[in-house]
Symmetry: D2
């Protein structure tokens, strides 16, 4: 994983799986290739294998269970997502929270398997504690803005600023900003505030022209990075 | 779903997924075809698509979330397992319990999608309440015997007898007996006690010759049914 | 427990505990004595002992854990609430759901200790399954109406009618109707529709004159019962 | 809170509440007074008020919910335990784990109310992350040793040593060592390894002469501290 990080969380929408899931994934991949920017997609567990077969962009799981091989009905082990082709996993999303000991175990297992992990944090105060577990990145998302259409980078820029400050206390962990990001301007602002990347879901998944949204995001990520240099 | 029901729960063993998962599945399918008896396998979510592509025997999920399309990171919807090729799902296994309202919602959604559901019950007292939700079958498994190698049909035959009694109070729901079933004799006994089928996991998954175990189970199921007639 | 049942769930408001909790309890008890009608109050665990010492009306817990004596940090056992003076417990409230096996265990333990249990149900379809566990009563509460000020008896009278129908399938279990009950008329209607009692929380706890609300409820319960005879 | 910290977690044993709970508490208080050493007891929620009335030693809750006043059936708020007389609360015990965001919220609320918090950690890797939330102390307890009779200070001294190292990274948070502590020697060793105190449960609660066990612990705590000076 290297900045700029663009992570699209598919969640469980109608177009997150099935033929529609394949279709949107191909569009996202095209943008990724056109601009030479990697785009991570985190997809439903049932889709990891299929999408990994047909795509080159990194496919993530949305969650894994912090369990080892054994009698665990219904569990999705890190080993299983790796076998299916995933390159990593989201963990502790506000819609699928797990405990600290589970995050620790999952991050460790994922790393040992050569995969990547992105751990979500609700508030900037949790960025340092979670970064100490050494995931590849922390995704900061104030839950009240998730899916709201009001971007964290505009509504609560201080959350990103503080999170950027916190992440510096631990070396080698990136900071991704998310929640409510809807426009290219939101993306630009997030990178400008110091984030290493952005996380997005509904703005892309609920759009009738997702490829345009993603393209606009990519353009603004690149522009903001260029400006920084 | 029609009796006799043979359900093999893959859980999360090393051979529950990947190449080993494919291999054991093919062996199970061969026995199914050789004897003309359907065998249901409940597999990890990441394997549903792959196994559904190469097998004709019914592939089940081990769990689904009782949620509708939307912002549900990490969720596995009934629609997703159907799309991936599953014919049904286990629900409420002792290792992955869910609440009554969730079982109700999941069973209803699964039925509406034309899939099948098998709801697990810890004790015979819960068979009637759970059967009222109209799943296709109830799988009775005393949790203390799961994976123990001591079969419910031998150690606690009264659990099966009572569960058989309870299931009769609701029309159209089958009773499957499980927990600790290891030998053909255990299987025979379970059917003899009135069960419509058997559920098994470790005895098959941990065996070095799973095809022989499964064959022995199938033979004894058929023998017990024959005897009853 | 005998109809008419009036249950006031204190929840966790500012006046649910402490001096304010004592004060509101005394007012409720006064109404109970004035009209000769028992009123059950379900109070925070920390208040059971104190309120049981000073009141004669039945004090309930709002939840108990389905556990036996042992190493269970943070657990509230049925034995503990009995020791503190409780006469029973609410279970499975929409704000504190537990699993079916836990409800079963808790109801059984509570009964064995000579206490009473009221199990909450979200929908009428769950009334029959839950009644089979033999609690003293089922409290039906459509979650979308809880605390809404829109009474179940007016907004969804068919939920009560159907629940009344379902409860008849099991002998000896009462049906209490709740969610959004705000006025005496709402109470009257609930009893008229066949409920054995009513459950209420915010209408009383958030009122500046709770004693008047409770009095109005009691009057209407008595009037509705009188009418039925 | 000041070292040396001696914390006795009552859990949910037969003598954790009721008359037996009062009796054992008085015995513990006597030792505390005889030696002029504070001993914290964490008791069931139903016992906080009663024990706070009759004791002078600090009474803690075993758990609180990270919620604010409102419609939360079954919740135990920080405000409620304070009102009942508690001086603080255990949080995140291995038998009652909560999520990181819940620990953060609970610790903050508890501090704002002028109470104390002791947050449990399963492994030394979690000591630093949890200490960043600024509880009064972290209680390190390898879960496999809890209630085992095999003391952490003997079986896994390196866990304490490493935890002591970790806690130093955050100023003003104490480290308590627990799990399996049974003898005065175990206690002595824990303090010698650098812990600011010890946590114990079954060794005291399951003893027929708890006052002797507690006295022995206190003597050894004092001896170890003396040695260090």
């Amino acid at each position: 994983m290297k900045p700029p990080i663009i992570l699209i969380n598919y969640k469980a929408y109608e177009n997150s799986y099935g033929e529609k899931g394949v279709e949107i994934s191909k569009k996202i991949e095209k943008v990724s290739k056109d601009y030479g920017v990697p785009i991570i997609i985190s997809v439903p567990a049932t889709m990891i294998y299929k999408l990994s077969q047909i795509l080159e962009i990194p496919v993530y799981a949305q969650h894994v269970d912090a369990l080892r091989h054994g009698a665990h009905t219904g569990a999705i082990l890190p080993e299983m997502i790796k076998d299916a082709g995933a390159k990593g996993s989201l963990l502790n999303h506000s819609e699928r929270k797990i405990r600290l000991d589970e995050i620790h175990e999952a991050v460790t297992r994922i790393r040992d398997l050569g995969l990547e992990s992105v751990v979500c944090a609700d508030s900037y105060e949790l960025v340092h504690p979670l970064a100490l577990l050494r995931p590849n990145a922390i995704l900061i998302e104030p839950p009240e803005l998730i899916g709201s259409g009001r971007a964290v980078s505009k509504e609560k820029p201080e959350v990103i600023t503080r999170a950027v400050n916190e992440i510096k206390k631990v070396e080698g962990v990136y900071l991704i900003a998310g929640a409510g990001i809807t426009t290219g301007e939101d993306v630009y602002k997030a990178i400008e505030l110091g984030a290493d990347g952005i996380g997005v879901a509904s703005a892309v998944m609920k759009s009738s022209t997702p490829e345009k949204i993603v393209e606009d995001f990519v353009i603004n990520v690149l522009k903001a990075i260029d400006k920084k240099k």
